[in-house]
């Protein structure tokens, strides 16, 4: 049951394995490493573009544009992708907006991994009352519609990057906890766990030295898929005006601004949408292919 909690985590594709059985082994291995390398390279490229791009190239500022230069078409001098209604450079806004999205997604997933992973591992390892209490609390968070919670938290704390991270962490934590718990429950029955316990290893050491390395692959692949989900939800929050506050760029609020003049200048929506799609797709593919690779050992 725990598998179905997070939509994408259930989609295993055994067909890939099957396909490789028939293909020559070398071709299979080559393909498989390509399956990780290509999306991995895409992710690296996107990260580099967003974080190094504005440093290396002389880009116009993403905010405080000249209103006289609004709605410039693509390939205008000095504005490769044109400008938005406020005269801000779209390319620059895309890259700075990407910084915000990627940073938020990373922070939310690290928070989820550390807090949720620890809670889930503790819950699975200790069992009993601790397990019941932790899981019931997480059940409440899961039954709570996540977008409503993030909306309320975003409203409560006011729109800002830090508050968006906290708001989104509210639902990444139970998701990671679920994954960690089910992984630990499986590992708990393994002989090496019994061996560690017989040696008198303290619980914290078992958790960090024995369980953490063994659950890491699963949690990291889940985190990759989580990156995509968080980027989409962060976009939704910013779209509704509750994420990154307006003059600062974010893919979500760019889509929202573009929506106002959708019929006249559709490209204002297309660029940030494309950025969202390519980034999320890269993270999803990386996650799925890493999973296929690690589970198909």
């Amino acid at each position: 049951m725990a598998v179905a909690e997070t939509p994408i985590s259930v989609t295993d594709h055994p067909g890939v394995e099957h396909e490789h059985e028939e293909a020559p082994a070398r071709r299979g291995r080559w393909r498989r490493s390509l399956g990780v390398a290509v999306p991995g390279g895409m992710v690296a490229l996107i990260v580099a573009a967003c974080f190094l791009g504005p440093v290396l190239f002389d880009l116009p500022s993403p905010v405080g544009g000249n209103i006289l230069e609004s709605y410039l078409p693509a390939f205008s001098p000095g504005h490769l992708l044109g400008t938005d209604p406020n005269g801000n450079d779209i390319l620059s806004r895309l890259l700075y907006g990407g910084r915000a999205s990627l940073f938020i997604a990373l922070a939310v997933n690290v928070l989820g991994l550390v807090v949720g992973g620890t809670l889930g591992a503790l819950s699975g390892y200790l069992g009993g009352v601790v397990d019941t209490v932790i899981m019931r609390v997480l059940d409440v968070l899961i039954a709570f519609p996540s977008l409503v919670l993030t909306l309320a938290v975003a409203q409560a704390l006011g729109p800002s990057m830090r508050n968006t991270i906290f708001a989104l962490a509210f639902f990444s934590i139970p998701a990671f906890a679920r994954v960690a718990r089910s992984a630990v429950l499986r590992l708990r029955e393994m002989p090496f766990m019994a061996a560690a316990q017989l040696c008198g290893t303290p619980a914290w050491r078992v958790l960090f030295k024995h369980l953490a390395p063994n659950t890491a692959p699963q949690l990291i692949t889940f985190g990759m898929l989580g990156m995509g989900i968080v980027i989409i939800i962060e976009g939704a929050l910013s779209f509704l005006g509750l994420g990154i506050p307006d003059p600062a760029p974010s893919w979500g609020n760019m889509v929202a601004t573009g929506q106002l003049s959708l019929s006249a200048t559709p490209m204002l929506v297309v660029w940030p949408s494309l950025a969202l799609l390519v980034t999320v797709l890269s993270f999803n593919l990386l996650g799925e292919n890493l999973r296929a690779r690690w589970s198909g050992r």
Binding site: H13, G15, A143, L147, L151, S273
Partner: protein
């Protein structure tokens, strides 16, 4: 997941089970016990959800009194209205009062419009309900045939095409998809309305027509997800299960095995996922209703949060959580109805 754990041909019954089942069927049937147990488990979850909402909402700076009077109101005026609306009392008192009403089915009155919450919900729930229903129809009608086609020959052309399409589809945010659909079908082609909702009273077709784009925006990513899930499960069944081997050995055709045998078992997994999704899905309607200006419950939620109408927010959250809890319960019951092994209490 919930696929056949016992290598058993459907239709045969384990003799160890049937004897006890005859006794238990009437007295304490496992299905009845399951329902009661799940309902009891739902109570602390619902309590937790409502407490959490009250607490989170109490953190939001400003209250409905300030919002109603606007920024130019004097502190005395605000204090007076707070007094009138009962907002100056401590949170736990207001929660207790709200809970007492809610348990008896009285969800209170909107702080802002003073209309009974149940009336407002009654106006708006059908819109969201119809939207979600249509989205499910769109996604399932597409997903089942695509998954069957893909699973019929794993690694084949249709399988690859469907995997590529569904991977891409899963990476599209529904609000982006919504805008693309509006751009193509409303702006460029002009065949469907971009925004607005036509009630059912003005005819079935105008009603459905106004919901086609919103339900497609929700349903298409779901379709990708269900198609992938069902395809994976079908392939597992076809490769690992002994009843498939049996059926094949009897000379049943490959489509027959896939549809009549494997799909019947895989449908359990699909039902679970659909049920678990329902909670997330109804939360996801918030943004779609906002884009398409649909007068549904999600739009109401957003308005209520903006005007600090906490009684309304509370009501919407209760509805969302109830839907999630009930959907899970229905899934478990459907199992019991569909799967004889559970029906006769031998899990």
């Amino acid at each position: 997941m919930t696929t056949a754990a016992l290598p058993q041909v459907p239709g045969t019954r384990d003799p160890r089970v049937s004897r006890t089942s005859r006794v238990t069927r009437f007295a304490g049937s496992p299905v009845l016990r399951l329902v009661v147990k799940r309902l009891l488990m739902a109570i602390p979850i619902m309590l937790g959800v409502t407490v959490l909402t009250f607490w989170v909402l109490s953190l939001i700076p400003g209250n409905a009194a300030q919002q109603l009077l606007g920024p130019e109101a004097t502190p005395e005026q605000v204090a007076q209205l707070e007094e009138q609306l009962g907002l100056n009392r401590p949170g736990y008192v207001r929660y207790g009062e709200w809970l007492r009403g809610a348990v008896t089915g009285d969800l209170g009155r909107s702080i802002v419009s003073n209309q009974p919450v149940s009336d407002l919900l009654g106006e708006r729930l059908p819109v969201t309900g119809e939207l979600v229903l249509l989205a499910f129809v769109v996604s399932l009608v597409l997903a089942v045939p695509v998954a069957l086609l893909a699973a019929h020959r794993p690694g084949g052309v249709w399988d690859r095409i469907s995997m590529v399409v569904s991977t891409a589809g899963l990476s599209v945010a529904n609000y982006v998809l919504a805008l693309i659909l509006v751009l193509v079908f409303a702006v460029q082609l002009g065949v469907l309305p971009a925004i607005g909702f036509t009630p059912l009273s003005e005819g079935l077709w105008p009603n459905v027509r106004s919901l086609i784009l919103p339900s497609a925006a929700i349903g298409l990513p779901l379709f990708c997800f269900y198609a992938r899930f069902l395809r994976g499960d079908l392939v597992d069944q076809m490769q690992q299960e002994e009843y498939v081997t049996t059926a094949r050995a009897k000379g049943v055709g490959s489509w027959q095995v896939l549809i009549r045998h494997a799909f019947r078992n895989s449908s359990f997994g699909l039902i679970t996922v659909v049920g678990l999704n329902l909670g997330a899905l109804i939360g996801g309607t918030v943004i779609i209703e906002q884009i398409f200006a649909l007068p549904g419950i999600g739009q109401m939620l957003l308005q209520a949060i903006n005007t600090r109408d906490f009684i309304m927010v509370q009501a919407v959250v209760v509805v969302f959580a109830l839907v999630a809890v009930v959907a899970n319960l229905v899934v478990d019951l459907l199992y019991a109805v569909l799967d004889p092994r559970i029906r006769y209490g031998s899990r």
